[in-house]
Each structure stands twice: as C-alpha cells, then as structure tokens.
Amino acid sequence: MLPFARQLEHLGYADLKAENVSTLQVNLGWRCNQACKHCHLMAGPHRPEQMERDTIDAVIRVAARWSIPTVDLTGGAPELNPHFEYLVEQLDRLGTHILTRSNLTILFEPGKEHLAEFYRDHRVELVCSLPYYQEDLVDRLRGKGVFQKSLEALRRLNRVGYGEPDSGLRLNLMYNPAGAYLPPEQGALEVQFRRELADRYDIRFHRLLTLLNMPIGRFKEFLERSRNYNRYMGKLVSGFNPATVPGLMCRTLISVAWDGRLYDCDFNQALDRPLLEGLPRTIGEFDLPTLATRTIRLGDHCYGCTAGLGSSCGGRLAQN
C-alpha cells in the first residue's frame, strides 16, 4: 500500500497544511450510554475518561480569546459529562456557534429528559446518529432498542422545533455504513431518508451527512475478525479522490481530547497521535497563528477521509 503521505506528494502536497482553525472539536469524554460496533474510540458505559472542569474552562478561554466561530462537542456521549451544560451556557454567552453530536438515546437517560428544551434554548445545532431507517440494522449496529428510542427522541426534537424548515433549529442526521462498504452518495441517500422517515414515522430533519467507517478502533477489530481488513483498505486506497483533499476537515479544525491534549482530528486522538513536534500540546498552550498554519500529522487511516466522495464530520467532501 502506498503510504498516504506519498500519495499526497504525488499531488504536489509536500506537507498537508492547515488553512485556519474555524472549529474547535471538543471530545468531552469516552463514556457513552451505547457501545456501537463501529466506534473508533471504543466508547461505552464503563469508560472512565471525562474532561474535567479546569480543562473545560480552558476551552472556553480559547473560544473567547481567539473568537473561534464553531465549537463542536463530541464524545462518547458529550451530554454525559457533568459539565456539559455549563460549557454550552458559557459558549452561548460568547455567541459561539455550538454543535453537538448526539446519539439520541441520551435524551432518555435519568436526569437528561430536559435536553431537547436545553438544546433549543441555546440554539445548539444537532448532528444525530441514525445509520438507517430500519430497526434491525440500527439495533444490530448500535444496540437493542436503540432504533425505537432514536425515533422517539427525533419526534421530541421535532416537537420543540428542531428539523422544521424555518425554525433555525438545525437537526442533521449522520449516516454510517453498517459494514465493510463505503457510504452511498449523500444527496441520493438524503432523499431516501427524508421520504422514508416522513412516510413511516412522520419525522423531519434538515440534512443527512454521510460518514465512512474509519478502519480503527472497534471497526478495525471487526474488519480483522471477519477477514475484511485488506479488502476494505484496498477499497479506500483505490478510491483515493484528489478532489477531497482541499476540504479535509483537519485543515480547518483542532481536536481537543478529554485530557486537554490537541490533535489534528478525532481519529488521530483515537490512535493517540498528537500534533507534530514543536506545536502546542494542550489546550492551555493554544496559539491560533501557530495552529492555523501547522503541518498536519498524516497516517494511512487518512485514506478513510479521501475515498470516493470523501468523508468528514460534516459529511462528504466532493461532488459527484
């Protein structure tokens, strides 16, 4: 396999450089009320990793000091962090665009029943995991009973205004394949999801985003166990699409881990590959001019973001 960095060299990228830092993606911890089969972080109910209050305060200081436009909250289930609501309130006061990646079933955890209204009151944009519109497939991937709870959560979000065309309360869904294959074309799948969710369950949403399963963490374990790893990696490498490179999310994002360490993306965080030597190491050392022009740390898993139409936390990267 041609190393990813060499692949980029052929395109004229001696190094892959960041363009700016418009998003701070903050991983609030690896604890989750679900244990999905594809999770690259191997998150689950028994994970102890949680961002502490002093690190959260450092995130708020960085967002304020450097006027970071978007803070993207992820996990685990970010809402399980005891300081989640404090963080959202503080960021909202700053006028920061807040995005939360929600697994939906969190809305039914004890003490979390008010989350739909809380999100609404702080105009939080939601990206909610829903890998398909059929029960058996979703439950197989995300756990028994998850599909029905997810539908109920989406209905609850619709009731408070999320997903309505003119409400300004953005409700996006995140699709990922239920196995060793690439995601469908995002636009066509969005049409399919919109029709099926409306007709079957009377659920509305704004956009569907497609995300490829990164060959790391639990998904890598599945690939190896099922002897699909080589073929899957081959598919990613042969599907390398140069048109995806300009839009790679690492070029506009910094990932902050639960312990405050900085990474180029959540996947590098999962692999514990921090920023390159000489760059700020923690949120406390954050320096925008340095980070906005940094060289990005690459690995062969990066083929996961450049295959086909590309993949990112914001969906596909290239058009058909």
Binding site: Y132, Q134, Y181, P184, E185, A188, L189, Q192, G234
Partner: protein, 110 residues
Amino acid sequence: MSHYYEENDLERFDEIGKYRPDLYDIFMNYYQGVMSAGALTTREKALIALAVAHAVQCPYCIDAYTRGSLSAGSNLEEMTEAIHVAAAIRGGATLIHGIQAVNAAAKITL
C-alpha cells in the same frame, strides 16, 4: 487452483484486457456508461444488476452487487425483493416453455 471460483479473481478483471485491449476498453466504456446514473439511479441499477447476477448465477457479480447495493443505500429487504423478481421471471420463463412441450407433444400424438 483449489476452486473454479476464487474470490480474488474479481480483482484480476483487467487481465482480460491483455490480448485485445481495444475490445476490453470498448466493453469497459460501455459498462461504465450503462452503470452510471441516467433515467435510473445508480441504486436502482445496482438492484437490477443484483437480480441479474442471481439469474445468471455469477458469484463474482453477486459479491460485487451485494456490496454495490449496500453502498448505494439499499437494504436486505429491497435486495431480497430484487432477487425474488429474478426468481419469478426465471420460474415464469420455465413454465411458459411448458407450452412448447405441449405444442411438441401435440405435433406427435394422435
């Protein structure tokens, strides 16, 4: 060779172009043109391909278009329906040829 059908042979498809690359290129251009989105979507075409793959009982095509259908956003319920369509047409085609047997029998019986 332990089996007539080897999984990795699918990836060797382009070796067929070794001796008559001109014909191979014509076929591949045609194939890609056919399978691209047109009046039908790529998802619909993958389901048709899956059904045909079963009708012609090609293990390579079944493998490729199972992946292709899933990658295009189809689910096993839809894929199974497509395979039933192939089965129904094959079954119907078998039965309608029964008329040929009836005709042939009529021709030679008193």
